[in-house]
């Protein structure tokens, strides 16, 4: 089979970056390797990353994909042109009520109340930080309370020239990236 990494353009033609060989299970090492390859492709030009695990039986199938979805893929490439994804992760503020770990047995009502409280705290933390960052981005995706230790995560589609400016403004949160535009290719 053929594993797909990304779709790009060369001389105004759609191209697929692929590797021949069996699909890998999504181990940490395989994910790291996949991302490393897509990232290196992004150094040479804009790409739409494929979701990990995308495989097709042969080259004809890959060409078929490029033909059948060319309009959508070109529109996707247009959207990310000259841009990269930057990730942001925000923990809870020190002493925030939402930071308290669930302890012992709690009733269903208490659990729901705590959950609501966390959500409210996450919303207010996001309101503080997210709009100022979204201002510098062409697009963004915000996720509240993705995990217990995280108030929110967000992904921003940022011009390559604005990476420094964006990172400087995001000085109160954890910044990752730049990433290939995974969150803006679906």
């Amino acid at each position: 089979v053929i594993c797909l990494y990304a779709i790009g353009e060369r001389d105004d033609r759609l191209v697929a970056f692929t590797r021949r060989g069996a699909a890998m299970p999504p181990t940490e090492a395989a994910l790291v390797e996949h991302d490393r390859i897509v990232f290196s492709l992004m150094r040479d030009g804009d790409v739409l990353p494929m979701r990990f695990g995308a495989v097709l039986p042969d080259e004809d199938a890959v060409r078929g994909l490029l033909r059948e979805r060319s309009e959508e893929l070109r529109a996707g490439l247009e959207r990310v042109r000259g841009r990269v994804e930057i990730g942001v992760r925000a923990g809870w503020e020190d002493g925030s009520a939402a930071d308290a770990r669930p302890n012992g047995k709690r009733s269903g009502a208490e659990f729901m109340r705590a959950k609501l409280e966390r959500r409210r705290a996450a919303r207010s933390r996001a309101d503080e930080i997210h709009p100022r960052l979204a201002e510098l981005a062409a697009d963004s995706v915000l996720t509240l309370c993705p995990r217990d230790d995280t108030a929110f995560t967000a992904a921003y589609l940022v011009d390559r020239n604005d990476i420094e400016r964006f990172a400087a403004r995001a000085n109160t949160v954890t910044v990752t990236g730049p990433w290939p535009p995974y969150s803006f290719s679906g």
Binding site: L4, Y5, I7, R10, R13, L14, V15, A16, F17, T18, R19, P25, P26, T27, E28, A29, L31, V32, E33, D35, I37, F39, R43, D46, L48, P49, M50, R51, F52, G53, A54, V55, L56, P57, E59, R63, L65, L66, R67, L73, G76, G82, V84, G87, R89, P146, R147, T153, R160, N161, A167, V175, T176, G177, W179, Y182, S183, F184, S185, G186
Partner: protein
């Protein structure tokens, strides 16, 4: 395209999973790898992919 694209390293496995398994271009469900059945496990890095082929649309 700039050549000074450098990565910042405070990446966690969760960041990778969110993006690589939750984002990206999706092709027909039945030909993608079934990821739900496979546990995420840490293994030592294997031999790297030697080269990435390029298939162009005719």
């Amino acid at each position: 395209v700039n050549e000074t694209l450098v990565r910042q390293r405070e990446v966690t496995l969760v960041d990778l999973v969110d993006r690589l398994l939750g984002g990206g271009v999706v092709i027909d469900g039945d030909i993608t790898l079934a990821v739900a059945d496979v546990d995420l496990v840490t293994i030592s890095l294997r031999a790297l992919v030697a080269s990435v082929e390029k298939v162009a649309a005719p």
